[in-house]
Amino acid sequence: MNTTAFIIFALFVLLTLVITTFAARQMKSRSDFYTAGSNITGFQNGLAFAGDFLSAAALLGVAGLYYQAGLDGLFYGLGALIGWPALLFLLADRLRRLGKFTLSDVLSAKLSHPGVRIFSASANLIVLVFYMISQVVAAGLLVDLLLGIDFTAATLLVGILMITYVVFGGMVATTWVQITKAAMLIFSTVVLAFLVLMHFDFDIQSIFSQAIEKHPSGEGIMAPGGLMTGTGAAISLGLTLLFGPAGLPHILMRFFTVPTAAEARKSALIAILFIGMFCFLMVIIGYGAIALLTGDPNYLDADGNMIGGGNMVALHLSNALGGNILLGFMSAVTFATILAVVAGITLAAAATVSHDIYATLLKSDGQSEKQELLVSRVAAVVFGGICICLSLMFQHQNVTFLSVFAFAIAASATFPVLVMSLFWDKLTAYGAIWGGSVGLVVALVGLILGPSIWVAVLGFETPIFPYQYPTIVAMPSTFIVAWLVSKLGGVPAAKALA
């Protein structure tokens, strides 16, 4: 076990528990629980947004991809940024003006039909469960690798902490944990990039020259590699990355934590600035890793492969440039990253169950805030418990497809319905329900018949549906069916809000 990493991680956990204690004292209403009483500033929320997107995959995965294939790392790394224009230009203002606690509130503000809320809540829960399991399994594996803690113990630790943050601290604790982690992640990335630049006397060209000299592919690392396999696959992946984030419930919920629409816009802007900066820093870190680690026997095994696998590149680089302290800090930041993300997902799921299903659909005749808060807390514990159990069951399975599924559903079903409800007054409730449901089913079928499940999980030789992401078919299906059903008309029409 890396003692430095363990101490830094223990300090982070202690700090987050102090934050949770303070948050618990402040929490008096359901608004405090779901949206931190809308008292988070635009800057703070922007940092929390950046934290949601700068995940362990963004740091370790992208650095590993740069090391392995050069420029492909940039194509992959842009994925964290490219969904933000849609969030800023199309959704930030509008969501804050229309919404209260959840995404379903926004849809219901335009389409007052219980079916819309049922569709929205169902789609949200499916997205959140699949996203959560993939995150927790990845967390367990990563912590096992980084801190030497057994998978089961690491998963239980993640589960207990995330449930504690949500149950006692609600959105206030979840947001501040995310802010703390984002600040740590950005700080460590800046330090690492600075150390790379210092090593090369701040001569950026020499980083690339040495990387080309040392990498087996030579000048090939400055060209696109095999990440994009064809036009259809590239378009489908592009649509998923462009519009998937705009359909993720735990991301959209953050827009309700700020007091005004202008602050919601500002938070998206701040997130873009931080994530944009991160994209630049990762270029330096990625190519710096090629130049500094390639051929170094300290970080390679007998076969010449990176010790611990390709995802360890950023951590080995930290060790090479900053010694054990920086390595420990980066390892602790990685664990903190996962904790913060799963806490946000748990909160969004709890809000969906307690606010969208229990309070609005089952007890629409009214119940006290206290009851709703109790249901939220129970929902957080149950949701967290189920996800932990499923993660322990799936620990030996390849669950990457679950996060693919979450993004594909968000881009294929949730985003089109949301955007049509905001921009097309003629959308009917039935249009939204049928469109969204068809998108959901097409995304599911496409995913099962695609390479992620049909080949990787079920073991068939060739996929029936050729692309990993079904968005290229599922997203247009949602738009077309929603438009067609709305045109057929005769059912509850979209409420015009003047």
């Binding site: 809308s38 008292n39 420029l71 940039l74 194509f75 842009l78 940024l81 490219i82 933000w84 224009p85 849609a86 800023l88 230009f89 199309l90 203002d93 509008r94 804050r96 003006r97 229309l98 209260k100 503000a109 060209q205 690339f208 020259s209 990387a211 080309i212 000048e219 090939g220 400055m222 060209a223 696109p224 990440l227 994009m228 064809g230 036009t231 590239a234 378009i235 992946l237 592009g238 462009l242 007091p259 005004t260 629409a261 202008a262 816009r265 500002k266 998206a268 802007l269 873009i272 600035l273 944009g276 994209c279 630049f280 270029v283 921009f423 809000l497 003047a498």
Partner: protein
């Protein structure tokens, strides 16, 4: 504190701008991504003869810059629109 009492709809000119800005970024990103399949050699060509930095790297980072600048410009424009609307509203209120 909430602004949920404010008008729920964006002004039409803002809606057009929002959609156009999103589409413009989407088209740029798709063009960059597809050029990796259709013209990988073009992306691999060096920006300066003999230099290590490729056109693909520069265009990718340029896309990041475009997104950041468009976000800053958009926010600035919307703030001006909101200030002008607030001023107009104050003037109309004063006239009444």
């Amino acid at each position: 504190m909430s602004d949920n009492n404010l008008p729920k709809e964006q002004p039409p000119e803002s809606t057009r701008l929002d959609i156009l800005a999103t589409l413009a970024i989407a088209v740029l990103y798709m063009a960059y991504t597809l050029s990796a399949i259709w013209a990988p050699d073009w992306l691999a060509s060096p920006v300066f003869a003999g230099g290590p930095i490729s056109l693909g790297l520069v265009l990718g980072l340029l896309l990041v810059v475009v997104i950041v600048i468009s976000a800053l410009a958009y926010d600035g424009l919307r703030r001006r629109q909101e200030k002008a609307a607030a001023l107009k509203s104050d003037l109309e209120g004063g006239a009444k």
